[in-house]
């Protein structure tokens, strides 16, 4: 009987003990579902711990909890804080989820510390990095971060007259009436093409021109052919191109062939496609103050100004870089995480590979945009 009792006690204690262990030191899968790497008890007794807790709350979109832990919450409202995190107007930030974060202590004293928080947000078009340097102050027995709020500019209520151009297309319909006339697909032309070898594989760069008088929805496919003429691989530009080209507009494109060596390539077959689509000339985006910071740590930066009267939810900047002889050197891109409001500059900064940055003489940028329900 004693043995039975002992067994029961042992099993109960072991169960409780295992639950405690699993809760204090959760296995990775469980920790991921709990929203971070910490266990049940997470401490704000260190500056890093406080920032960890704060970032965990951000990861759960628990804005209220995150806001309540801030040392400087008296200086802005919770609404300001939420707007800083999600954007005032629908944009990439609005539906972003925190993929992971890094906390890097920069400096610490008894009552104050400085910590770099790198938030990697995941969005439908890729990840973006939001780096903030936080002061962390000691408040009694725990630490509290000071949030460097970025207040979005508010656009005053106004009426902006727009007289934009737009093209509509009336299609013939799906029925088969042979010989009946249909509208011609726009004529597009590759005006530059240049393969380069990078660590990841072969990259084909180029520029495509819509030489027609109607808008074109374009795409570029490339096929690498080997020495014996057989195809090695076929890839397309996906989002490293501006797919909508108005008449006489030029877009760069970049096509990556992972794990292919340029020495194996004999020739490249380019296949641009275009189709006629309904489109609008709006919005016009001006790109101001474009600058290339020199290597090392080369960046192509500038700011976008939406000159139209409608908000742009997501802007995609494609930078094209040329050497002194005007030859294409590189194409790089970045999605802007905040909406573009009319006449409100939003900055961008695109990293440029250091080895290529030294060759760059001139650069040029184009912007593709997306707004829900709008023209593509």
């Amino acid at each position: 009987m004693t043995g039975g009792r002992l067994l029961a006690v042992f099993l109960c204690l072991a169960t409780v003990g295992l639950v405690v262990i699993g809760t204090l030191w959760p296995v990775p899968a469980a920790a991921a579902w709990a929203g971070g790497t910490g266990g049940f008890i997470s401490s704000s007794s260190t500056p890093e711990g406080a920032v960890n807790n704060f970032a965990n709350d951000l990861g759960h979109h628990a804005w209220q909890e995150a806001y309540s832990t801030l040392a400087n919450k008296g200086k802005f409202t919770e609404q300001d804080f939420v707007r800083d995190m999600t954007g005032s107007y629908p944009g990439l930030r609005t539906y972003a989820s925190l993929d992971n974060f890094e906390v890097r202590p920069l400096h610490a004293s008894d009552n104050e510390a400085q910590v770099e928080l790198r938030l990697h947000w995941s969005t439908v078009v890729g990840t973006f990095l939001d780096t903030r340097t936080l002061q962390v102050v000691k408040n009694g027995d725990h630490w509290a971060p000071v949030w460097p709020i970025v207040k979005e500019q508010h656009v005053p209520p106004q009426v902006i007259p727009v007289t934009y151009l737009r093209w509509d297309v009336i299609y013939r319909g799906p029925e088969d009436d042979w010989g009946a006339q249909d509208v011609e697909a726009p004529h597009v032309r590759i005006i530059d093409m240049h393969p380069v070898e990078r660590a990841a594989g072969v990259v084909v760069l180029g520029e495509l021109l819509n030489e027609d008088v109607v808008p074109a929805y374009v795409s570029v496919k490339a096929t690498l052919l080997g020495k014996n003429g057989s195809p090695i691989a076929t890839e397309d530009s996906f989002d490293k191109i501006s797919h909508l080209l108005l008449p006489k507009q030029v877009t760069p494109f970049l096509i990556t062939f992972p794990n292919v060596s340029l020495s194996d390539v004999d020739s490249i077959h380019m296949d641009p496609t275009s189709s006629l689509v309904a489109a609008s000339a709006d919005p016009v985006i001006e790109i101001q103050n474009q600058k290339l910071s020199p290597a090392p740590d080369a960046w192509f930066s500038g700011s976008l100004v939406n000159q139209s009267g409608q908000n742009v939810s997501i802007a995609h900047v494609l930078g094209t870089f040329y050497d002194q002889s005007g030859q294409l050197v590189w194409v790089a891109d970045q999605y802007i995480d905040r909406a573009l409001l009319p006449q409100t500059p939003v900055s961008f900064a695109i990293p440029v590979p250091e080895d290529l940055a030294r060759k760059i003489s001139t650069e040029r940028a184009v912007v593709a945009t997306y707004s829900p329900g709008g023209f593509q």
Binding site: V19, G22, V27, A29, S122, F238, T273
Partner: protein, 624 residues
């Protein structure tokens, strides 16, 4: 079917009961019922409760009364996996001997999943249609579970307690959870077969009865043909306790001899292993050639239920229901009675693993499999292992409190079952209720099905859509069947739900859209505007809309029509023949041997309930 089970059960009931109460009084279940000696005796004498078991036919009628209406309402169609099983079945319906299914992942082999329940659905659907065929097979599984629990419980407890355990199985939360919320047909089909096989294993190893050997082996093989994991893990949680019981139990005062025990165990293991190896040969070949090395996909059943209480509710409270209240009894009684200890230990390990990431046990025991398997099935097995204890507890409570106990137990059982059934409504697998018929019709016309498609924001409706359309998709719901590198390299499950897997899911979606040409992927059906920016910037355009503009069709220009994927994974014809013959044949064989080899009525007294309980009490050993 019921008939043979009943006959077998009666014989077994007598054996177990006499063994338990006449030969091992020191380990009687009554020795630790928590009553003082005097009170206990007085109660037993005064109340003189009925010790007859509830007739199994009555329990089966109860199962029908509870589950038949729910299944006729086709409630499982709202669950996570029901349509997945129907999709597999629809393939078997049209291509019984060709397991290569081109409709998902640009082609995948259905030999990666044991086929038995789906093949039965395919067969029955020729009369009833697919949906009703699913319900039929599920109902049969539920009825078999009742019988299986009864027979399994008889190994451990009295016929009366076993009958109460079987009755409890009708209301088991985890069963209802798996049937109506999770839609895990294979698990809920394999477990009853396995439970029914275990008493034969017991008889074979203990008594060397060849009939039991044949029946047991056939049922084990059929169980594996229904769900391989059940057999694999069932061996640990169910078979090992049963084998331990063989060692503990005595027959005519003698324990089974060790050599006999070992030889019979090994013989059964080898024969069943060989049979399973042959019956599921294409499955093993697929597994060996293409082991599941893809990036693990998160599943909430691996969460820590304390750190993530919402998942604790989903995967612990709902499946266990009122059974949580019985946990102390299980531990106390299971520890106290020697012959119940193996069952307790089996339950305990299954219980801990079923807790997912709440304890480190699952991670430690299963290793990488922890990140591949889902944990709710372990909770299901744990509750099945707990049922003999539940029967025992119920019997004692009813003996002691009669009507009040019956009322409380009825309320508890009803509440448990109702909560688990209702859970599919409270927490539906797919909150959005919409029809995919228009999408299927769109794909099936004007040659649209010459291309592949993917849906976004369709949840688990993609299985239903795949049943309705002739077109092929690059997405699917059978993660282990995926071979496309764009999918296996990322830890996202179905592309249609990419955003819920954050970066991993979206990376997979981006990769597959990037290679649209490669797979003839021309159509994307979008029900969630979240994905529109990716499609816009990736070169896709809107071409049509459906369902009052709630579903937008996106297309990519210049995509060549889908070519059949001539993958090395395509099973050769002989494997198709095997797959269409042996697993299904194993179930036919099991039915045949069970029906054709009736139990010998060893003792006529088998029908008589043993009336020796009172005198076998050892009052001095009771808890006080």
């Amino acid at each position: 079917m019921v008939h043979w089970m009943l006959r077998a059960s009666s014989a077994l009931a007598f054996t177990k009961a006499t063994t338990l109460f006449t030969r091992q009084p020191g380990a009687s279940i009554f020795e630790s019922n928590g009553l003082s000696r005097g009170i206990s005796l007085q109660k037993l004498e005064a109340v003189a409760p009925s010790t007859r078991p509830i007739p199994l036919s009555l329990i089966l009628m109860a199962a029908l009364a509870v589950h038949l209406p729910l299944l006729l309402m086709e409630l499982p169609l709202k669950s996570y996996d029901t349509n997945f099983h129907i999709f597999f079945a629809s393939h078997y319906l049209h291509h019984w001997f060709d397991p290569w299914n081109p409709k998902w992942y640009a082609g995948f082999s259905q030999t990666t999943y044991p086929p038995l329940p789906q093949q039965w659905i395919a067969l029955v659907s020729r009369i009833t249609g697919l949906d009703l065929a699913y319900m039929t097979v599920q109902l049969v599984a539920i009825l078999l579970l009742v019988v299986g629990v009864y027979r399994f419980a008889l190994l451990w407890v009295t016929p009366r307690a076993a009958s109460l355990a079987a009755l409890a199985a009708v209301f088991l939360g985890s069963e209802s959870f798996l049937v109506y919320s999770a839609g895990q047909l294979s698990t809920t089909t394999a477990a009853p077969l396995y439970l029914n096989a275990l008493p034969y294993l017991f008889e074979w190893v203990r008594e060397g009865k060849w009939r039991s050997f044949v029946k047991g082996a056939a049922l084990f093989t059929a169980a594996a043909a229904a769900h391989h994991a059940t057999l694999l893990f069932g061996s640990m949680f169910f078979a090992i306790p049963v084998l331990a019981l063989v060692l503990i139990d005595r027959q005519d005062g003698e324990r089974v001899s060790t050599p006999a025990f070992l030889i019979r165990t090994v013989v059964m293991t080898v024969v069943v292993a060989a049979a399973v190896a042959v019956v599921l040969l294409p499955f093993w070949i697929a597994l060996i050639h293409y082991p599941v090395t893809q990036t693990p996909i998160p599943h909430a059943s691996r969460a820590n239920y304390i750190l993530s209480p919402q998942w604790g509710l989903n995967y612990f409270v709902i499946p266990y229901g009122a059974l949580i209240l019985a946990l102390p009894f299980i531990f106390v009684r299971g520890s106290a009675v020697t012959r119940l200890r193996p069952l307790l230990l089996g339950f305990w390990v299954a219980f801990l693993v079923g807790l997912g990431g709440t304890t480190p046990v699952g991670h430690l025991l299963l290793g990488r499999a922890f990140d591949v398997l889902t944990m709710e099935r372990f909770s299901y097995w744990a509750t099945l292992l707990a049922l003999p204890f539940v029967g025992l507890l119920a019997a004692e409570l009813i003996d002691r409190y009669r009507g009040r106990a019956v009322a409380v137990l009825t309320i508890a059982a009803t509440f448990t079952c109702a909560m688990a059934v209702a859970w599919s409504t409270f927490r539906p697998a797919d909150a959005a209720d919409f029809k995919v018929d228009s999408v299927a019709a769109w794909l099936n016309r004007d040659g649209h099905d010459n291309y592949r498609y993917v849906t976004l924001g369709f949840g688990n409706k993609i299985s239903r859509l795949s049943v309705l359309t002739d077109a092929s998709s690059v997405d699917g719901e059978w993660n282990s069947g995926r071979m496309l590198p764009e999918l296996t390299a990322h830890g996202g499950a179905a592309l249609t739900s990419s955003k819920y897997f954050n970066k991993e899911g979206l990376d997979a979606l981006r990769a597959i859209l990037d290679h649209a040409d490669r797979y003839g992927l021309k159509w994307v059906f979008v029900r969630d505007p979240y994905y529109e920016p990716l499609l816009t910037f990736g070169g896709w355009r809107r071409v049509d809309d459906l369902e009052d503009r709630t579903i937008i069709v996106w297309s990519k220009d210049g995509v060549p029509p889908a070519a059949p994927v001539n993958a090395p994974q395509i099973p050769p014809h002989w494997q198709g023949l095997m797959w269409g013959t042996l697993p299904f044949g194993s179930s036919l064989l099991a039915i045949f041997v069970v029906l054709a080899l009736p139990e010998r009525q060893r003792r006529r007294a088998a029908d008589v309930e043993p009336a020796v309980m009172d005198k076998d009490l050892v009052p001095g050993r009771m808890f006080s």
